[in-house]
């Protein structure tokens, strides 16, 4: 199991477009991937779930991947956040 803590820097938050990119990326991996925000758990492979997090700029998130390709998954998602979803 690998986990990663980060702060969302995207200025309009995790709205439809970045949420779509995020869940598409997560879906590429076999590991189960969860996102934790304020003690609640969300499914990184479900755009419904990611949208209902309501993550705004400055929100602290923890991503936890568990499975055979957990390292790769975390790295790819970290890149996505660091590039601010291309926004």
């Amino acid at each position: 199991m690998v986990s990663l803590g980060l702060i969302l820097d995207n200025k309009s938050g995790l709205h439809a477009r970045p949420a779509n990119l995020f869940t598409k990326e997560a879906a590429k991996y076999r590991s189960s991937i969860k996102v934790f925000k304020g003690g609640k758990e969300y499914n990184a492979k479900s755009i419904f779930s990611v949208l209902s997090m309501g993550a705004t700029q400055g929100t602290e998130l923890t991503i936890v991947a568990d499975g055979e390709d957990e390292e790769l998954a975390i790295k790819a998602l970290k890149d996505l956040f660091e590039q601010n979803f291309g926004e």
Partner: protein, 573 residues
């Protein structure tokens, strides 16, 4: 049912069309007991496939129209329909509760929507429309209702919404939209500004319209009067059609004014200039007979990118603008960011009061490099046309002097480099902070012109945040305090022999334009679509006669009295 409603007319014109509601609430479905869960699940999956097909068609159409931003929204909708985790939960509900797919889908969606209620961020909160849109699309297919999205309706759509965010606006097909009726909002809310710039009639602040109107209802609206009629009677339609014919004739009359001067009935000359955000807007200005650019907002040059625009890049843009205007005056405002306008590559810490915070000239004086680059580009462009430089948000003489000193050092620098410039460039300032308005007589000794920015001047004078719907009704361009300030600014400026323009939304208000003219303003700068109408207003009024009206309204105690009085006294077409 026939129903008359009133709001604030924010974009003139008459529309006679059909209601299309934006962001409908989730549709109502019946709960049924279903024994064959297997078949129900299969039905749901077939429906999802059909939904994807519909969305892909929309995406294809949007791509052909080069509407990239909206393509991304519908890509996200596609992902929502493809969400196996979510639809897995719906299937689970169908099986365990023996209910129909519609009911299971609606209930599962509602669970997700609950979390949106707690969001504090307005923008994310409004994103529930994406989920509602998608669920409604699937429900419609399940129930057997034909797709009725915003792109497939007739050519006479009147968009009815509680509110329209910029991204909602982007989703609307403007070639088929003939009007907007919005429950919230004010003259300066986003939808009002957009509607005016696209020339689409709009009425905002129409209480309960979203609940009262049904999709497909006939609707009449008058964006001048602010009236809205749902399911109008034959005689109401006739009356409006007559008015519309008159309006059309009036618009033909206006076209004639394109190559005319702006001259009041008693022979006083004025300039009607335009506000622009990018060089591409100039075509519109020239087509409407603009006599100059009264406000070029340079911040658009800085948006949608990862780093500051270089001196060379800015120079090219400014040069294009002044050359295209071919000797007509072009007032270029230096960078006005901060407040609600942020740049992704300039880190400004979050502030409690951004409108009273680090913005506009304050940022430029604090980041000399940014300021220096822009001033160099402006001065270099100055020799290619009639360029004037204007500083925004000035609140003290010290700031003005510091900005002018910076300009002086840039000028000296360019001269040392033997670069040709126009040394006589006029330098002016926005008067939009009450402090500057109050000591305008002192400022007038140190600048070549004033431009009164009414949007901020009203906001700061009346202490009303114009973006806050709860107090939008307090934001009023007829407020006596604001009109008195404007009158005084013009008076003291003329004492120092400098010229004064008005570049806020108020300049394009037909009832106020003749008043400003009678107060002695030299230039009104408006959105390109309003140029001809404002010229008509001035050409058909006499400043001498209006002086009496000015004297009267400056002694009236309330904005309402002033507006009603002007409604009576100012002849509009």
């Amino acid at each position: 049912m026939n129903m008359n409603m009133r709001g604030i007319g924010v974009s003139p014109g008459i529309a006679n069309g059909y209601v299309v509601k934006k962001s409908e609430p989730l549709r109502i479905v019946e709960k049924k007991v279903v024994v064959d869960s297997e078949a129900e699940t299969k039905k749901l999956n077939n429906t999802r496939e059909k939904g994807i097909e519909q969305i892909e068609k929309t995406i294809f159409r949007l791509m052909q129209d080069n509407r990239a931003e909206e393509v991304q929204i519908f890509e996200a909708h596609k992902a929502l329909v493809n969400d196996d985790v979510f639809f897995g939960e719906v299937e689970q509900k169908i099986k365990t509760e023996n209910v129909n797919a519609e009911w299971a889908l609606k209930k599962t969606t509602e669970q997700y929507l609950k979390s949106f209620e707690s969001f504090e961020d307005e923008y994310l909160k409004e994103r529930e429309v994406d989920i509602i849109d998608v669920t409604n699309r699937i429900l419609n297919i399940l129930i057997g209702i034909e797709e009725s999205n915003l792109f497939d309706l007739s050519d006479h759509m009147v968009i009815v919404a509680k509110d329209l965010a910029p991204s909602d606006f982007a989703q609307i097909d403007l070639s088929k939209t003939i009007g907007f009726v919005i429950e919230k909002g004010s003259r300066t809310s986003h939808v009002s500004i957009m509607a005016r710039s696209f020339g689409v009639p709009a009425v905002v602040g129409v209480g309960e319209i979203f609940t009262k109107a049904k999709n497909g209802d006939a609707v009449l609206l008058d964006g001048e009067e602010g009236s809205v009629i749902l399911n109008p009677t034959k005689s109401e339609i006739d009356a409006y059609q007559m008015k519309q014919t008159r309006l059309r004739e009036f618009n033909i009359q206006l076209k004639v004014l394109k190559n005319c001067r702006t001259l009041s009935k008693d022979g006083l000359k004025f300039k009607i200039a335009a506000n622009i955000g990018a060089p591409k807007d100039i075509d519109d200005v020239l087509e409407n007979g603009g006599e100059g650019i009264g406000l070029y907002r340079t911040e658009f040059l800085y948006w949608d990118r990862d780093s500051f625009p270089s001196e060379e890049e800015q120079f090219t843009v400014y040069k294009t603008v002044v050359e295209k205007m071919d000797g007509k005056p072009v007032v270029i405002r230096t960078l006005d960011i901060g407040g609600d306008k942020k740049l992704p590559y300039l880190d400004i810490p979050l502030e409690d009061n951004p409108f009273l915070g680090y913005r506009a000239i304050r940022i430029c004086l604090g980041n000399k490099q940014i300021f220096n680059t822009q001033l160099r580009a402006l001065m270099r462009a100055s020799k290619y046309g009639n360029l004037k430089i204007m500083f925004p948000m000035v609140s003290s003489i010290e700031e003005l002097r510091a900005a002018k000193a910076e300009l002086k050092s840039v000028t000296d620098e360019l001269k040392r480099e033997k670069i040709e410039i126009n040394e006589k460039v006029e330098v002016g300032m926005m008067v939009e902070v009450p402090a500057a308005a109050i000591i305008a007589d002192l400022f007038a000794k140190e600048v070549d012109f004033f431009s009164i920015g009414t949007n901020d001047l009203i906001q700061y004078t009346t202490a009303v945040d114009r973006g806050n719907p709860k107090i939008a009704h307090l934001y009023n361009q007829f407020h006596p305090a604001v009109l008195r300030l404007i009158q005084r600014i013009i008076e003291v400026a003329h004492k120092e022999k400098i010229w004064v323009g008005i570049c806020g939304e108020a300049a394009a208000e037909p009832k106020l334009a003749p008043i400003f003219a009678a107060m002695g303003v030299d230039e009104l700068s408006v959105n390109p679509k309003s140029i001809l109408k404002i010229r008509w207003m001035l050409n058909n009024s006499s400043c001498h006669e209006m002086e009496e009206v000015v004297a009267k309204i400056l002694n009236m105690p309330t904005a309402e009295e002033i507006e009603n009085y002007l409604q009576d006294k100012v002849k509009i077409m």
